[in-house]
Amino acid sequence: MRRRVTLCVMSGIAAATMVLTACGSGDGAAGGNAPGGETLRVWFPGNLSNEIEWVENELVPAFEGEHDIDVQVEFVDWGDLSTRLSTAFAGGTAPDVFGHGTAATAGFAANGRVIALDDYLADLPAEDIADMTFLDHGKIDGQQFIMPLRGFGYLLAYRTDLFEEAGLDPFASPQTWDDLRAAAEQLTVRDGDRIERAGVILPADNPTSMTQAFATFLFQAGGSFLDESGAKVTWNSPEGKEALNFLTELYAGPDAVADGLGEPTSGAGAQHPLVTGRAAMSLIDDATLKSIYEQAPDVAESIQVSAPLGEAVTASFGGAGNGLFISADSKMQDEAWAFIEFLLEPENAKAYVEVVGGIPARSSLAEDPDIAATPYLKPYVDAVAQFRGNPNVELWTQLRDILSAQVERALRGVTSADEALDASAAEATALLEQG
C-alpha cells in the first residue's frame, strides 16, 4: 500500500514537473495552433468596439467565405498584449497571426518569433507593393517582418474660436516653435499663478507619450534618437537638448503656457482638454482627434489641424502604427498570409481606417473621396511624408523606457533638460554595449 502511495505521489510530481517544464521552455515545439490545426487564430490589439464589430461581423465572415478557412479572432487590450504574448510564447501557444506596434518588430525578429514575409510579398504585383505606404517601417535589415495596417501621427490641433477670442487669426496656424510659443502665451488664461486654460498641451498621459512629444520636436530640430547604425545614442545631441529645453520651458515657471502632465488625453473624446476648453492647442494623434469628432462633434467643428511645424526640418512623430505578424511557430503560415493579404486589399484597408482612424495602409487611398472628406483623416494623410517613427532596433522599447523616465523628470522640473538627456544617453549606451 505504502509503495502504491509513493508511486502515486512520484507520478503526480513527475507529471506536474513535465507540465511546468513545458510551460517554461517556450521553444514552440508544440506549435501555435488549436488542436486539429484547422482554425486560424488571430490576435488583434486594442478594445475599440467599432473595430471589434467590423472585424467580427464583416471582415472575418467575408474572409471565411472566400477562403474556406475558419478564423478565431481575439482582441487583446494594448495594456495586456505584452503579458499575453510573452506567456503565449513561453507556453508554445502563440496565435498564428498577431498584431502589435512596429516598435516590437526588431525584438520578435531577433528572437525568431516571427517569420520574414518577403517570399509572400514577392508574389504580389509590383504596383501593390508600391502602394503600401508604410512597408519600409516594418523592415529589419532589409527583411519585411510586419505588415502595417495603418499609420498614425501627431499634428497640432487648435480651437479657432479661442484663437479669435485671443485676437489671433484662426487661419494662420503656428509654423515655427517661436510662433507656437507666441500663440500659446496669447491663448493662456491664468488665475494668479494657476493656469486656467493652457495655451498648448502635449501628449503627456504617461512617460512614453511624453517621449513621443519630445520626438516630434527632436525631429523638427534636425535630431534623431539613434545614429543610422542603430548602435549609438544621439538623442542628447545639441538638437535634442534644444528640443527638450523648448518643451520644459512650456511647463516651467510663472510664464508656463502648458500643464496637465500625466492627465489622460489619448482617445479622451469629449473629455479632451481641447473640448472642455482647458487647452487652446494640442499636439494630437489621429485616433484622439477621431474620438473628439465622434463624441463632441459640435466642438470638433471649431478645431483646425495644422501641418507639422518647420524648425530645422518639417517633421513630426508618426509613421506605421499597428500591424500584423505571422508567428514562426504557426502551422498555418500560408493561411495566415492569406488573412493579412485580404485585410490589406484596398476596400478592406479603406474600411479599416474608416473604423479605427489613422492613415490608410495604401497610398492610393489618399485620393479616395471618402477619406479626403473625413476631417480627422485628411490632415494626417496629407502629412504622411513628414512623419518619422522609432528606430527599428531590438532593444528599442527598453531604450525608450530609459529615455522616457528622464524626459518625465525634465518636464516636471526635477532635473534640467540637458542633464536628463545626458543621463539617459549614458544609461542607454551601457545597455546597448551589454547587448
Partner: protein, 277 residues
C-alpha cells in the same frame, strides 16, 4: 489525505519551487531556449538596484499609511455599530459594502472621483478652491492611493473588530464599572487589551495583503508619476512583462516574500509586546 497532499504539491509547492528556480536564471520568454542558470546574479543585481529599494520604500509607505488610517477608523466604526439602535444591521452592511466590491471596480470609480473633471475637484470648485491633480502630481499620488485603499479596507477591519468586541465578556466590563471605571477607562484598560489578538490579526493580514498590492495601482497611476507609486509588485510586473526579465522579476518576488514575512513578524512582535504590557 493523499489528494490534499498531491494538490498542495502540484498547485502550490512545485510552482513556488519553479519560481525560485527562475529567480536563479536569466529568462526572457520571447527568446528561445528557455531559462539560463545564472546563480545568485539576479539577486545581486536586484539588491544593488536603486529602483528596487525605492519600490520597497513606496511599498512600506503605502502599507503603513493605509494601516495608520484603517485600523483606528475600523475600531472606531466597530465601537459605533456595536451598540443596539434601529437600523444598525443596515448601517453595518453599508459600511461593509466597499469590502465586497471588486478592487478593480472600486479603482475605476475612484479614477473618476480623482480626475481633473471628477467629483472631488467639482466639490473643491464649489467651495472656491483650486483643482488638485490627485493622481498626476508626485506629491499627492501616493496619498490619494492610500485614501482609496483605506476606504476599501475599512469595512473588513470593522467587521473583525466588531466580532472581537462582541466576544468580550460583559461581566468584565460590568466589574470594571462597579469598580468605578468610566467608559474611557473601561475601553482603555479592559476592551483595548482584550482586542490585542484581533488587532494583531487585522494588522498582519492587512500587511500581507497591502504589500502585494497591484491592481489598484495599475489602474489609477501605473506606478507614476516619477515612480512615486511604484510598489514592488508593480516593479515585478514591469520587469516581467514590459522588460521581459523574468529571472529578475522572480528574484524580486522572493525578496518581496522576505519583506512581507519580516513586516508581518515585526508587527506580531511589537503588538504582542504591547498587549502583554
Amino acid at each position: 489525505m493523499l489528494p490534499a497532499v498531491a494538490a498542495l504539491v502540484v498547485v502550490t509547492l512545485l510552482p513556488i519551487a519553479y519560481g525560485f528556480y527562475l529567480s536563479l536564471t536569466s529568462y526572457n520568454p520571447v527568446e528561445r531556449g528557455g531559462p539560463r542558470f545564472h546563480g545568485l546574479d539576479g539577486y545581486v543585481a536586484v539588491l544593488s538596484s536603486g529602483q528596487f529599494w525605492q519600490a520597497v520604500l513606496v511599498t512600506i509607505q503605502y502599507a503603513a499609511g493605509t494601516l495608520i488610517l484603517t485600523v483606528p477608523a475600523a475600531l472606531g466604526l466597530a465601537l459605533l455599530v456595536n451598540g443596539r439602535f434601529p437600523g444598525v444591521a443596515l448601517f453595518r452592511s453599508m459600511l461593509f459594502l466597499p469590502r465586497v466590491v471588486s478592487l478593480v471596480a472600486v479603482s475605476m470609480i475612484w479614477l473618476w472621483l480623482y480626475s481633473r473633471d471628477g467629483l472631488f475637484n467639482y466639490v473643491l470648485d464649489l467651495v472656491g478652491l483650486p483643482p488638485v491633480s490627485f493622481l498626476t502630481d508626485e506629491d499627492t499620488a501616493l496619498l490619494s492611493l492610500i485614501l482609496m485603499r483605506a476606504w476599501k479596507a475599512l469595512g473588513g477591519g470593522m467587521i473583525i473588530f466588531l466580532a472581537g468586541l462582541q466576544a468580550i465578556p460583559k461581566d468584565l466590563l460590568e466589574a470594571a464599572a462597579v469598580d468605578g471605571c468610566g467608559r474611557w477607562r473601561q475601553f482603555r484598560h479592559v476592551t483595548l487589551p482584550l482586542l490585542v489578538p484581533i488587532t494583531i490579526y487585522v494588522v498582519v493580514v492587512d500587511v500581507i495583503y497591502l504589500a502585494q498590492s497591484f491592481s489598484e495601482i495599475y489602474i489609477l497611476t501605473s506606478g507614476g508619476p516619477l515612480s512615486s507609486t511604484t510598489v514592488v509588485n508593480m516593479l515585478i510586473y514591469k520587469e516581467a512583462f514590459e522588460n521581459y526579465r523574468l529571472g529578475h522579476a522572480s528574484a524580486m518576488a522572493f525578496l518581496l516574500f522576505c519583506l512581507i514575512f519580516a513586516l508581518a513578524y515585526l508587527n506580531i512582535r511589537v503588538l504582542s509586546r504591547g498587549g502583554r504590557r
